[in-house]
């Protein structure tokens, strides 16, 4: 990680766990998370599902939804 604030690191860890749980992001390190193609692809999938603006970025709207209590069943796929 670049010299991100701890909040940003927490947000990325939360996002990675969320995407693994609900969008089939493969586990393990994604290299520099922010840039990893897989990470951004899954962000886009999630933004599309929730009818957010599809940016591939971990923006505030996307994080808001990731922080809401929810069902553990994946949103897409098996």
């Amino acid at each position: 990680f670049s010299s991100s604030s701890s909040t940003e690191i927490d947000d990325y860890l939360l996002a990675e766990k969320y995407l693994r749980q609900h969008y089939g992001l493969s586990p393990g390190l994604q290299g520099s998370r922010a840039a990893s193609g897989a990470f951004q692809t899954k962000i886009r999938e999630m933004q599309k599902f929730f009818r957010l603006k599809v940016t591939g970025n971990l923006d505030e709207n996307t994080l808001d939804i990731m922080k809401q209590p929810r069902c553990g069943v994946p949103d897409i796929g098996e």
């Binding site: 599902f49 009818r51 069902c71």
Partner: protein, 367 residues
């Protein structure tokens, strides 16, 4: 709505279920009653029937567990993941697991077991998550009274199993409002930290100046302490606080948190007791005054002093000629007051003191 891949469903309609353990948060008789009520929701919409087993293997095995609970799909402690379920099939197929680390309730004081159970049983019957924020099968939790299925849920389950043969008409939960409906009326509008929030029924749209597409959410998914529907809202940016009104109560919100000491009664602002509802509220940055509209009158509240200005209430029709005698919602931007009445939005120039433009209410949502 969505189904699981390969449209997994039960191949017969008479299913069995078994509750294999209970949460200490509720009486076991309450859990029995809640689960039966949740199953009845799905029976009402389909030909499916559910028979209870007290031992052995049922189609739908229901249990409470925390963290790793035997399916290599661990829960995560309080909040976050509340429960999960498996699509129709043998063995673990159709099973429902609740996270015991949550506080399960029979009301809205914390996670309502009936709402979550009905959602999870939807999965156990073959429904995946829906993108419709008004649907029960939407992934995020939100509490609502009344019949839990929206049209979207009913269509999804009947697509798999057909309708209830008794032809009983269901009264689905109202769907999320469509933003570009030309007949759209709105309940409240406010700025908040540079974005615009438009409230309608149980939902709000969040509009960012750079993004043309507003995002729709359930009000209580973001602010669980608010009522389902709001009457009015305004932001005092100097205090970084949004004020929301419903009936005779008002909530002060900073970000996602309720400000200490709220909700309060609206009469604390200095309104007479005869006022039972605020229809619209708007903070005029240029004057530091908040206008509060109720029925055919409005008041001016001095935010700095925390008192009502003298000489009020005044008549809406007299001071804002041309907009009608009542206001549903109000916003202020760059010297213009935007007053919403029914399906229309009136742009009122604060300087020339007259209506300069009339638009459809939904134009606030870039329609």
């Amino acid at each position: 709505y969505n189904h699981f891949p390969r449209r997994l469903k039960w191949e017969r309609n008479d299913l069995t279920f078994r509750i294999t353990n209970y949460t200490p948060d509720l009486k076991s008789t309450d859990v029995d009653r809640i689960i039966r009520r949740a199953l009845n929701v799905w029976s009402a919409a389909t030909p499916l029937t559910f028979r209870k087993l007290r031992e052995g293997i049922a189609d739908i095995m229901i249990s409470f567990g925390s963290k790793e609970h035997g399916d290599f799909n661990p829960f995560d402690g309080p909040n976050g993941l509340l429960a999960h379920a498996y699509p129709p099939g043998r063995d673990i197929g159709g099973d429902v697991h609740f996270d015991e680390d949550e506080n399960w309730t029979n009301d809205q004081s914390d996670y309502n077991l009936f709402i979550v159970a009905t959602h999870e049983l939807g999965h156990a019957l073959g429904l995946a998550h829906s993108s419709d924020p008004g649907a029960l099968m939407y992934p995020a939790y939100s509490y609502n009274e009344g019949f839990p299925l929206a049209e979207d849920d009913i269509d999804g389950i009947q697509d798999l199993y057909g309708p209830n043969p008794n032809g009983k008409k269901l009264k689905p939960r109202p769907d999320a409002p469509t933003r570009c409906d030309p007949e759209l009326t709105i309940d409240a509008v406010t700025d908040l930290r540079g974005e615009t929030y438009i409230f309608k029924d149980r939902f709000f749209w969040r509009l960012h100046p750079q993004f043309p597409e507003p995002q729709q959410s359930l009000t209580r998914s973001t602010w669980p302490f608010l009522p389902n529907q709001v009457d009015a809202a305004y932001e005092n940016p100097d205090k970084d606080t949004m004020f929301v009104f419903r009936g005779i109560r008002m909530w002060a919100i900073s970000g996602y948190d309720l400000v200490k000491g709220y909700p309060k009664y609206i009469h604390k602002l200095g309104l007479p007791k005869r006022i039972r509802k605020i229809d619209a509220a708007v903070y005029i940055k240029d004057t530091g005054k908040t206008l509060l509209f109720s029925d055919e009158e409005y008041w001016s509240y001095n935010e700095a002093k925390g008192t009502m200005d003298t000489g009020y209430p005044r008549s809406i029709e007299t001071d804002f000629p041309g907009i009608g005698d009542e206001v549903d919602a109000a916003a202020y931007r760059s010297g213009y007051l935007y007053l919403f009445n029914d399906k229309l939005q009136f742009e009122y120039s604060y300087i020339s003191r007259k209506v300069v433009r009339i638009m459809r209410a939904n134009s606030v949502l870039n329609c």
